[in-house]
């Protein structure tokens, strides 16, 4: 902790700019391993988010410039875009971003008032409403051997006439999907894991993406923009829950390192669970919040109806934040503890 006379001049804009910067290594690796399609998704989400933000600010009678330039809408847009399939149709991206900014952010009162993480609300709306369109993931270049150029990706995203074969050559089931389908077809985890989509720890290519999000997370932590408690507790929750299940029946439950090195878990641990608005605020509350989200992620992944559980786990924990915060209020130095007992004089 810095000495009390050292002023921390970090503004919302600075924090958001650091978050965006910390996402850059992840985006670079994404482009390198999966093709440039993600750049179009990111730009489209950014433009939509800024337009929606401007429209909502104007309707609510707020000045545009200070709020538009605080970059918070762009952070939401990028987090959502990174959660969406690489080659999702344009209207999917626009719908999700609009929902995140208009409903989850502004209808709840704007930045600082939103009880749910806007990006995760956008994702949940899309996965519930359009499960089929949410499967167009580009496969890792290492396996597909080829990727769409920027122009071809734009064609796919904006509904151009792309031959089915071109698309089939570059899209693949994600490792999570592959695990899920395999288990439903009564294969054991070991049998499923022999597929080429599974790498050393996580998925081929996907584990490197996860690693690059870890680097971004460490940057944020070293700048003290995020607290270590939430990501640590989240990763611990994921590892312990998955580890317990895997230990209990290794044939039916994926190994903990597979879940641990998934990009969705890394993105969530460092960029989503650490949202200062919708997450817990007390030190012990952050541990509870993170661990609960990790536990729920694995439970929803294993028994839920959708391939990934991160978004639903975060939304459920967002709901519990007022309770967690109320129960984990730290004792004021020299004051009474939670049971009303005064410290000895």
């Amino acid at each position: 902790m810095p000495a009390p006379f050292i002023l921390d001049r970090s503004s919302v804009t600075q924090v958001m700019a650091w978050v965006l910067a910390a996402l850059l290594p992840g985006i670079a690796v994404y482009v390198w391993l999966f093709g440039p399609g993600i750049l179009i998704t990111l730009s489209l989400a950014t433009v939509t988010a800024l337009a929606a933000e401007a429209a909502m600010l104007k309707t609510r009678g707020y000045p545009l410039k200070p709020f538009l330039s605080d970059l918070s809408a762009i952070v939401t847009a990028w987090l959502l875009a990174l959660s969406l399939p690489t080659l999702a149709p344009w209207w999917l991206i626009v719908t999700g971003t609009l929902f995140a900014i208009v409903v989850a952010k502004h209808l709840y009162g704007g930045l600082g008032q939103n009880i749910f993480n806007p990006a995760m609300v956008g994702y949940a709306v899309l996965i519930v409403s359009f499960p089929v369109q949410m499967t167009q993931w580009a496969g890792p270049l290492e396996l597909t051997g080829t990727s769409l150029t920027l122009a071809q990706s734009a064609m796919v995203i904006f509904g151009g006439d792309v031959p089915r074969a071109t698309l089939d050559a570059v899209t693949m089931a994600t490792p999570l999907d592959a695990l899920r389908t395999g288990l439903l077809q009564q294969f054991t985890v070991d049998e499923i894991m022999t597929q080429p989509i599974f790498g050393r720890y996580g998925g081929t290519g996907f584990e490197w993406l996860a690693f690059s999000f870890w680097i971004g997370g460490l940057i944020l932590w070293s700048r003290r923009i995020i607290d270590w408690r939430t990501p640590m507790a989240f990763l611990l929750g994921v590892w312990l829950t998955a580890g317990f299940l895997h230990f209990f029946d290794a044939g039916r439950f994926g190994p903990p390192w597979f879940h641990f090195f998934a990009p969705s878990v890394a993105l969530c641990a460092f960029f989503i669970a650490t949202d200062p608005v919708s997450g817990a605020t007390t030190p012990r509350g952050k541990l509870v919040f993170g661990f609960g989200a990790g536990l729920l992620t694995i439970i929803i992944r294993t028994w839920g109806g959708f391939p990934d559980g991160v978004a639903f786990a975060i939304l459920l924990m967002n709901l519990s934040v007022p309770l967690i915060d109320a129960w984990t209020q730290p004792r004021v130095y020299g004051g009474a503890d939670r049971r009303g007992k005064e410290p000895p004089a």
């Binding site: 719908t95 409903v103 209808l107 709306v125 519930v128 409403s129 359009f130 369109q133």
Partner: protein, 225 residues
């Protein structure tokens, strides 16, 4: 008898000022569960209104004979008998719709807006007033249901009046309006969250409208010279 002013006041209450769906927020379970299409919403709204009108009339007619202490069980019995009648009638004449609405027809019995009008209004007023009040309240609820159904159906499947063949037979299928042809569908609007979000938007619109009207009324007061 009833004066025109009273009549108008009752309707104003039911349709806007004390609207069951938007202001009192009573009877939300059927409101949220059934409002996935216009036809479902309208049918359940009308059925509820019929039950309300009949039960309010009956309750008001016997209000001097019901001991105060056991009035609620007596009201519930009256409402339940009337709901049974509606239930059997719908089963006989609009059977396909009856199958779609299912448990929500018998559940009108437990709809608190019906009991609320019986206890709060009918048990203290004359039969004619009570019936008019119940119809106004029922119409207000039906209106909210239909708007909600329209919003959800349009956003969810891009049609209006789908399922109208359940009421008027297979020939009526041509009346279904495909507002947005080739719509991919938006499942969220059909699912329960869609009902909550749409109702929230309606309540917000209602409050906004009310606040604006109040502001205008305030501004209209001439300043003393």
């Amino acid at each position: 008898m009833m004066t025109m002013t009273e009549f108008r006041a009752l309707f104003q209450n039911g349709l806007s000022k004390q609207n069951a769906g938007l202001v009192q927020l009573l009877g939300l379970c059927p409101l949220l569960a059934i409002s996935s299409t216009v036809v479902n919403a309208l049918s359940l709204g009308l059925a509820t209104m019929l039950v309300m009108a009949a039960s309010s009339g009956a309750v008001s007619g016997m209000r001097h004979f019901v001991p105060h202490e056991i009035r609620i069980p007596v009201f519930v019995l009256i409402i339940a008998s009337l709901v049974t009648v509606i239930d059997l009638l719908m089963n006989a004449f609009v059977h396909p719709l009856y199958l779609v609405l299912g448990i929500f027809i018998p559940l009108i019995t437990t709809n608190c807006i019906v009991l609320a009008r019986a206890d709060a209004f009918a048990s203290k007023n004359r039969p004619l007033h009570s019936v008019v009040d119940a119809i106004a309240m029922g119409l207000g609820l039906t209106a909210v249901l239909v708007v909600l159904g329209g919003m959800r159906e349009l956003a969810g499947q891009g049609t209006l009046l789908s399922g109208i063949d359940l009421v008027f037979g297979a020939d009526a299928k041509q009346f279904v309006l495909h507002v947005v042809p080739g719509y991919p569908g938006f499942l969220l609007a059909i699912l329960p969250p869609g009902a909550f979000i749409a109702l929230g938007l309606l309540i917000a619109a209602h409050n906004w409208n009310k606040a604006r009207a109040e502001q205008r009324a305030h501004a209209a007061i001439p300043l003393p010279a």
